[in-house]
Amino acid sequence: MPRGLIHSEKDDVCVATTDIKKGEEVLCAYLENNSAHVIVKSMDDIPLGHKIALRDIKQGEKLLKYGRPIGMATANISKGQHVHVHNLKSMRWGK
């Protein structure tokens, strides 16, 4: 059973659909293609609904969800890390 979902194949993040503990291996399924999935090892505790990075992302890089940029990394983010307000910000507001 997947414990995370990914909206689009281009996406940089997986959304946790259960609470995930640091160090757990998480199976993330793609919504666009149910038979495809990736497994990512979580580097943080990730609460249900929060995002896990699927790749290393450099500070200043745009991050994709729904196949669209949802914000810009404010710090380097490693694969498996929690992506949230501490390391991602809007490109519209909070400039």
Binding site: M1, P2, L5, H7, V15, A16, T17, A29, L31, N34, P47, L48, G49, H50, K51, K65, Y66, R68, P69, I70, G71, V83, H84, V85, L88, K89, S90, M91, R92, W93, G94, K95
Partner: protein, 386 residues
């Protein structure tokens, strides 16, 4: 063709509830209106803080919302109570066009107690008139509905919103009207919404409305970071307004938007189904109040972290995709689609679940918000008062 059992009103509009409304015209008239609702069984009052010294477009919007609320097809008849009768008569004239009974009771020259007595005698008559109205078989295409999300989280974009999108597609295909709004919460996806417009004219009108909203924010010199997304949204995993907007628009389904309404525009139905953008606030009660004033008789409300809003006159169906919210706030949730997160059901099945529940509510089943007295009535105000 598909039918439901609704209330056919004098002007041909169809309601799914049969309320008698006592409408206070202004803040000063709330006490008398509540007085009538305590004396007479079967009337609903909608206290609110406005109706004094408003002006310009704000005043026009106030009249639009009050007249539209009384004209809503879920309302069988209306009593209006106002400190002065000139503005109250203007609202009454708007409601009277629907053909339903409406009468105004001014407080000046009478005082509250005499007004409550006079209004209660008339309210009693209207309640008895309304009690004879029966549900009849009507085509579902006569329904006007609306959608909005609140206390959203990432499960809204994954599960509850796309489920509602399936319902919106189905209702539009059946020839009904579905309305959506939340102007501020389209930020980051406004180009996608613009691309969904059926023609260039609607596209320009939508972008003009959206730009006006952005201009207000900039003129006020504020940054909405911290309030959009809200703290509840952030707790639920949403990080930026762009992410929230992309989740939000999953509710819109896949049909072209063939109607764009600014605050004061009346609803015009398109043949073959109508999908309508309405310029609204993103605050739950304000948006639902405006949708109801535009004629929505039923609202689908998706929530992630657990928004509990209702409306005095239209059923608000709560849908969640968050298994924790479904469990810990179960008394507020009408439809749980959280099993979509485990991929145990398909999106089509989830949409079917929401649709079937909505039909039950149209036929008379009460929503959680109705049973729990969630009767939020919140007219939008644009300016400071004169």
């Amino acid at each position: 063709m598909m039918t439901i059992k609704g209330y056919l009103r004098e002007n041909g509009a169809v309601g799914v509830r049969n309320h008698v409304l006592v409408l206070p015209l202004d803040d000063l008239s709330n006490a008398a209106a509540i007085g009538v609702s305590k004396l007479v069984n079967g009337v609903v009052s909608v206290p609110h803080p406005y109706g004094r010294l408003q002006f310009g477009r704000d005043l026009d919007l106030f009249f639009h919302i009050l007249s539209g609320t009384g004209a809503n097809p879920n309302v069988a008849g209306v009593i209006i109570i106002g400190i002065e009768d000139n503005w109250a008569n203007k609202v009454a004239d708007g409601i009277a066009k629907t053909g339903k009974p409406v009468e105004v009771f001014p407080i000046e020259g009478y005082g509250d107690l005499k007004t409550i007595e006079r209004a209660s005698r008339k309210a009693k008559e209207i309640v008895q008139y309304a009690s004879e109205k029966q549900r009849t078989e009507v085509d579902i295409s006569s329904i006007v509905m609306s959608v909005k999300c609140g206390e959203s989280d990432t499960t809204s974009g994954l599960a509850s919103n796309p489920s509602v999108g399936v319902v919106v597609d189905k209702m539009v295909d059946l020839g009904a009207v579905a309305m959506f709004g939340e102007t501020s919460e389209l930020t980051g996806a406004e180009d996608i919404v613009a691309d969904k417009m059926a023609n260039q004219e609607l596209r320009e009108k939508f972008l003009k409305i959206y730009k006006e909203y952005v201009d207000v924010i900039e003129r006020e010199g504020v940054d909405l970071l911290g309030s959009q997304p809200t703290q509840g949204n952030i707790k639920g995993g949403l990080t930026t307004i762009e992410e929230k907007a992309l989740g939000n628009i999953q509710k819109l389904g896949h049909r072209k938007v063939n109607c764009v309404l600014d605050y004061l525009d009346p609803l015009i139905r398109e043949k073959g189904g109508t999908l309508c953008f309405v310029n609204t606030s993103s605050a739950a009660a304000e948006a639902v109040t405006l949708f109801a004033a535009k004629g929505s008789v039923l609202h689908l409300f998706t929530t992630g972290q657990g928004n509990i809003v209702g409306h005095p006159l239209i059923p608000v169906v709560k849908i969640t995709g968050n298994p924790k919210t479904a469990k810990f706030m179960s008394e507020h949730i009408d439809v749980d689609v959280s099993d979509l997160l485990d991929l145990k059901i398909s999106l089509e099945e989830a949409g079917e679940r929401v649709f079937n529940y909505m039909v039950k509510v149209m036929n008379g089943r009460l929503t959680a918000a109705e049973v729990l007295h969630h009767e939020e009535f919140s007219p939008i105000k644009l300016y400071i008062s004169a």
